[in-house]
Symmetry: C2
Subunit: 178 residues, 2 copies
DNA sequence: CTTAGACATTCCACTATCGACATGTCAAGA
DNA sequence: TCTTGACATGTCGATAGTGGAATGTCTAAG
């Protein structure tokens, strides 16, 4: 149940945000870390309110509701951060397909890997665009957001290198040739 | 809907496997790539059978059912591999928490990162154990499984290095100190 | 003979996620 | 004034995923 904590965390750092504001943060800052759709987000806001972890602190124009985290919400967030263990990612569709690459032709294999590498290049460009666009302040979100961004860069660089290695490996098989 | 294709792919390479056999493959070979629980797996086998992508080719002791991929199944697999685009991962609980690390004490931040690094070391040991235990043959699954395994190693090494960097970054903040 | 443990399947209730749709407000410029 | 586009919230149905329990069979060791 991490969407809940993503919302709670965002709200804790950006008090008085609306669902719409949060949605934008999910799209920009959290895009590669924890995605969310509108329906999920508004649904979670309703549940969090019902559970007493957040509350509407102000109603603005266009039906805008600004939320704030309650004491219970802060406690829940602290509990999640310090007392629960994150579970490791164990799903990667790109890699899953690599596992089955033996089922297609050599040309298709190469096409697949080159295609993924191209996507990666695009995402890399995207992350650099965000990096330049975001005004990095001295607040906590900037501070730790920077760490996450650096991770994203390293991650993509690593994947790129691995793909190049895999392509070489495929055209020139190791030790015992077939 | 990738569980479906993971099952189909596994079955295409290991014809005549039972749900139980597949379950073990998910646990060992696919653990870091695409996880599945029993209930999911058996449910998917039933659906795949209903859709005509696989069929029971043999019934063994203990109610064992050995499955085989049908022509339609092979076609579906080929289609998936060559005509559909994989969607990028965009969920990482470990990183999500890093984003909110500003909400806890410096000691807890460090504890968190060190804890993740320890987990990583464990997983690294695990992957090496699997590497040694698995009999790497010359079949396709071994060939491409090796690529995936190499990815796993690089991934964990990268995360480790990043965590060490992040720890240094936290104790010695960059440019404009606070 | 007994029993532990691997083999093997199936069902269930719950929660999470996705994608599309519906509805409406407000500000600014043509 | 009209229209466009950003702002803003919400509902729905379908599918996917989790975790646990129930049930039973076969084999090998003691």
């Amino acid at each position: 149940m991490s969407l809940r904590h993503a919302v709670l965390g965002l709200l804790a750092e950006m008090d008085g945000s609306s669902g719409y504001d949060l949605m934008r943060m999910f799209e920009v800052s959290l895009a590669n870390v924890w995605g969310a759709t509108q329906s999920q987000l508004y649904g979670e806001l309703a549940k969090l309110t019902a559970d007493g972890f957040i509350e509407v602190v102000e109603e603005g124009p266009r039906g805008r509701k600004a939320y704030g985290v309650t004491a219970a919400g802060r406690e829940e967030l602290r509990r999640w951060l310090t007392e629960t263990a994150p579970k490791a990612v164990r799903r990667d569709e790109v890699l899953l397909r690599v596992f089955f690459l033996g089922l297609v032709t050599p040309e298709q294999r190469e096409e697949y890997l080159r295609g993924r590498a191209a996507e990666l290049a695009e995402r890399q460009a995207g992350i650099e665009a965000v990096e330049e666009a975001v005004s990095w302040g001295e607040d906590d979100l900037s501070r730790y957001g920077r760490l996450v961004m650096e991770y994203g860069k390293r991650f993509m660089a690593m994947r790129r290198e691995w793909m190049e290695w895999a392509l070489r490996e495929l055209e020139d098989p190791p030790t015992s040739a077939r």
